[in-house]
């Protein structure tokens, strides 16, 4: 069955809250009802059909054609099915995602995968700051699921992550994995200064070097069985990450400024 397809009519003048457009929220709705879904934008609400051309299809498979960096909250709280955006999206894409598969073929704004609980979120382009991170006042960031970013990401990727896996095939900005409570952050390229700042537990794997805080302690170079196991697990999602995980790593324990049960593994050059 072909997917439910929404084509953006034109570039948006205002930011648009796209959170109602997730498979579980569309369940049982007719095509007419879907077209009349009220979306929040600017000062006045508008209907979905005002901004998108809708082509009927399977609601468990939604395709949004023509992205825009003003499309916010795409796939928020989605818990099943598949949602593909053929372009860029705005802030908080995949926030609180708890199942299914969300794919953005373009770039995402800040707080993508914020507080994500489960499921798979693939970003083909780049991601903004605070990938997976919590909003102001929240204790934990990402707490489950898998995020794969094919490009690079901004600052504080994986901030306050509690569980789950983030794979970044490009570079990461400053403070990657800051305040992580646990979980796994893999950066194939290098990361900006102070990766793992205030890391409590969890693993940060870096393909290239980063200027680490002096509160990370050098524990020597190893080939870890656990990373080989993880390599086999991540291979279906990212071959590049699997290659990195099979290398040997310099292990830095920290952040000793806080709990110090975490680790940063810096891949060897070979």
């Amino acid at each position: 069955m072909r997917p439910l397809t929404l084509t953006l009519r034109e570039r948006l003048d205002d930011r648009l809250d796209l959170s109602p457009l997730v498979p579980h929220a569309l369940a049982g709705k007719t095509i007419r009802q879907i077209e009349r879904i009220e979306l929040q934008t600017g000062h006045r609400p508008i209907n979905l059909a005002d901004v998108f051309r809708v082509r009927a299809g399977d609601i468990e498979q939604i395709r949004i054609q023509g992205g825009c960096d003003r499309l916010d909250y795409v796939g928020q709280e989605m818990n099943s099915g598949e949602l593909i955006v053929e372009g860029n999206v705005g802030i908080q894409a995949g926030r609180l995602l708890s199942g299914g598969r969300l794919t953005v073929l373009g770039n995402t704004g800040p707080w993508a995968a914020s507080g994500m609980k489960a499921g798979v979120f693939e970003i083909r382009g780049t991601a903004g700051d605070r990938l997976g991170g919590p909003l102001a006042g929240e204790i934990a960031g990402m707490r489950g699921g898998i995020v794969v970013v094919r490009g690079s990401v901004g600052k504080r990727a994986g901030d306050r992550m509690r569980r789950g896996t983030i794979i970044i095939e490009g570079q990461a900005g400053d403070y990657a994995g800051s305040r992580m409570i646990a979980g796994t952050l893999i950066v194939r390229g290098s990361a900006g200064p102070l990766a793992g700042f205030l890391l409590k537990r969890g693993t940060i794997v870096l393909g290239g070097s980063s200027e680490l805080s002096p509160t990370f302690m050098d524990c020597g170079e190893y080939q870890l069985v656990a990373m080989r196991w993880l390599a086999a697990m991540v291979e279906p999602y990212s071959k590049a990450a699997a290659v990195l995980l099979r290398r040997s790593f310099a292990r830095f324990a920290g952040d000793m400024a806080v709990l110090g049960k975490g680790e940063i593994l810096v891949g060897s050059r070979n």
Partner: protein, 301 residues
Amino acid sequence: MLLTVRGVRIDDTFAEAFGMRATAVIITADTAQWARQAALSMTGFATSVIGCGCEAGIDRVLTGKQTQDGRPGVRVLLFAVSTAELQKQLQTRVAQCLLTSPGSACYAGIDGEETLRLGNALRYFGDGWQISKRFGAKHFWRIPVMDGEFVCEATTGLSKQAVGGGNLLILGRTTDTTRAAAEAAVAAIRKVPDVIAPFPGGVVRSGSKVGSKYKGVPASTNEVYCPTLRGAVHSALDPDTKSVLEIVVDGLTSTAVASAMRAGISAIVKLGPKRGATRISAGNYGGKLGPHHYHLRELLP
């Protein structure tokens, strides 16, 4: 009634087997030898639930492509009479034999509707330095040890469909030919997936009956199969039988046990009565104790 295949007589009887609880773990190490060594230690003193708590053995050897961490490994099966006993045996054996073995790692070897604790029980050895790792539904523990880390999956599966006690009695004219027949049968059984032959080299020479003339002895020698007592008891042996060996088979499913017994019979028959056994029989308790009956006539090659 006696059936004869290629000169080997096969009794028209059946092996009687019991339902058991079973689990499996995959052991890997830096080399195939060390994976095997760890497995041998873990499955040592695990021939019979009567005195060892569990029956265990190596089910199959795995290449790096077949294991979770890309290193060579083996799959070990463990069988016990209750879930509690199986959990206890698994925990102590993994702790004393796998955790201790150089370079070893341990993963779930079976999916089950219920699970047994593996790393979840052993993580405390890490004394606070243990690291939990999850990926999707998979969960494992990293425990720092003197040669690096012991990686151990959190849980493994439990099977309640397992069968223990499938058996073949191998009767021959000399100890050498009978042993040769048993060895051939064990070699064939080892190739069958999901089964183990838990006794030394897969073979048991002290087949037992239930009970004893002595109080408190649960099992005693099965005198009707002892050649040296042939004249003194109501013997089950032929005049020319000088030696009897038994192969016991435990399997994850009843089908696996039947396949193993069929493979064993086929190997014995192939060897023939001159170089191997003259007769094949099976042990049972009259059919009232065990729910699984394997009739030899249905397992002929």
